[in-house]
Symmetry: C2
Subunit: 334 residues, 2 copies
DNA sequence: TTGTAGGCGTTATCAT
DNA sequence: ATGATAACGCCTACAA
């Protein structure tokens, strides 16, 4: 069951290997007769060119690497789908590995990608972050990040503006006890969202209560336990702004359990606008990230870098609030 | 910014390339002195071995390919995560591509993996299915499938038993008008589940009403529209068994919209037991697939095939019913 | 139009 | 312990 190589075909056809190579790559100067003969033979013998060997000589693997924290968040899943789609379209294969939020593992994966000579790397939710700016000199591969404005090649959503809209929405509805459930694993985007949260409260003369800022982890379960903590406060909030939709839906489940109605007794806002946001009850008010666009910009930025294009720089994509049914005025104390 | 090769190190160290190669691969017969010197030099020069070149000579890429319909279904996402975890552990990299439910695209991807000389391929939710059994002779790479009992190298969940439990549960609760929302994209597992559905109904003297079998597509939206169709029937069902949890949650959202309470007015059963099943309202009664185990069996089967082990054959994993709050007795007609 | 030769970066088999 | 040399499968001048 040996792989058939260009030599085998050459032997079978009674020509030299280079003729076969040319015939197969539709080289201009070759007789149409042998060309079709070779093509037929190749087909018949089940020849599949070794991209390994080819890459070695052309110095191009036509592969990019994507390192992702975990594909179990639908937002991230959507993002990689969008990246992969464009990559395919542009003739690139995608090597994918998970970093499981572990910085060491992330570095390992990046190293492995380099070893495989991917043309470039996209890191989604990097735990190294600015580590790449130092690496930048020694590292021969372009690296593109998400949500890291301190790094030159980064695509972000406007977390500041997004979070601001969310919290302002809540304030305008009349809420004054507003909680924030953070994500300890997503420092960059989290700190932006937290910052807007604090600023909007301050701008509206609402003191920031540290007890209302809970560490979450961006998962359903994380949101669920964060909500329980919030409910155990002596002065529970009337609204909660969540790092992402997963967290928000986790919050929903704890509220259901505690028989607290949304939005009558508690308003909830998410972030991302994943598909589930319109299929939960009540439908989730959230900040939409342009997920497809983000994936496209990431891969296009990487391709631009690969092609040594000029003027590649950080991009910030707009966030848009989508008001649905999980937010409303605070309950009037009977 | 050229990549540094073994030759560069050799030059810098004043030794031959082969010595460098040996030093780096911790060959036994080499002086400890030069070994450390070479290692230091390599480190310092930022040397990363080209796995391309290495693979070419060792004839082993240490890579496997995973083709998946789409990573946007949490069940599938979970599955690939589990596969990847084991693959990493065993020193394999994972090349991943989506087939988008397109048979042609699936073949393309398989071809691309072959070209990259992956050691084997896992196809999740194949649209070709038995096509691989014919390919089996001509194709030099081991291929492992999910849910295809007609193919020798397949790991499946016991869809027959799983679906049977689900429908029997509904029947025992007293339901007689039970709908099934199918998945037109997942022929294999779908036909098994449909078959059990029909058998259980028949075994209980319940005529199968074709109007209660709806074509879905395994997505939230698909479940949502299927539910709307069901509700428009002159005789709507009192229970619905869904191809998967995504469909079921889509059904939930349509029922909410129509102000139909679950389970009081309508019982819903899913399949998969994704994490969302415990974070929706009401919590979803479903058939649990051993997702992690399935991923592990898939990759282990592939590795066994790669290593030419004997006695590799199809595996069927157990499905287990998890009763939660989305099922109950049918409404008593007032 | 086709063949020959060299090289891509490694490893492996000989010698030395 | 180390150095030549060949080979992996392919591409690409250069020569014929």
């Amino acid at each position: 069951m040996m792989e058939v190589s260009i030599k085998d075909i050459a032997k079978a056809a009674g020509v030299s290997p280079s003729t076969v190579s040319r015939a197969l790559s539709d080289h201009p100067r070759i007789s149409t007769e042998t060309k079709v003969r070779i093509h037929g033979l190749a087909e018949e013998m089940g020849y599949i060119p070794s991209l390994l060997a080819r890459s070695l000589v052309t110095r191009d693997t036509a592969t990019i690497g994507v390192v992702i924290t975990s594909v179990s968040d639908p937002f991230l899943a959507h993002l990689v789908t969008s990246i992969e789609e464009v990559a395919q379209e542009q003739g690139y294969s995608v090597l994918m590995s998970s970093s499981y939020l572990d910085p060491d593992r992330e570095l390992e994966v990046v190293g492995a990608f380099h070893g495989r000579r991917t043309r470039g790397i996209i890191v989604i939710g990097s735990q190294i972050d600015t580590g790449y700016v130092q690496m930048h000199d020694r590292f021969p591969l372009p690296v593109v990040l998400t949500n890291c404005r301190a790094y030159p090649y980064s695509v972000s959503t406007d977390n500041l503006a997004g979070a601001r809209q969310a919290v302002e929405h809540l304030v305008q509805l009349g809420h004054r006890k507003i909680a924030y459930i953070a994500n300890r694993h997503s420092r960059r985007s989290n700190s932006d969202r937290l910052q807007s949260y604090q600023q909007v409260l301050a701008a509206n003369g609402i003191p920031v209560d540290e007890d209302l800022i809970i560490e979450g982890d961006g998962t359903l379960r994380g949101g669920s336990v964060a909500a329980q903590i919030l409910l155990s406060r002596s002065q529970p909030p009337t609204a909660v702004f969540c790092f992402n939709d997963m967290t928000a839906i986790g919050v929903f489940s704890s509220l259901q359990q505690a028989r607290i109605r949304v939005p009558e007794e508690m308003s909830v806002v998410g972030f991302d606008d994943v598909e589930f946001a319109t299929h939960c009850h009540p439908r989730l008010t959230t900040i939409r990230q342009p997920t497809n666009l983000m994936g496209q910009r990431l891969i296009h930025m990487l391709l631009a870098l690969i092609q040594d294009q000029e003027g590649v720089g950080p991009e910030v994509l707009p966030a848009e609030m989508v008001i649905r049914e999980s937010t409303g005025p605070p309950p009037t104390p009977a």
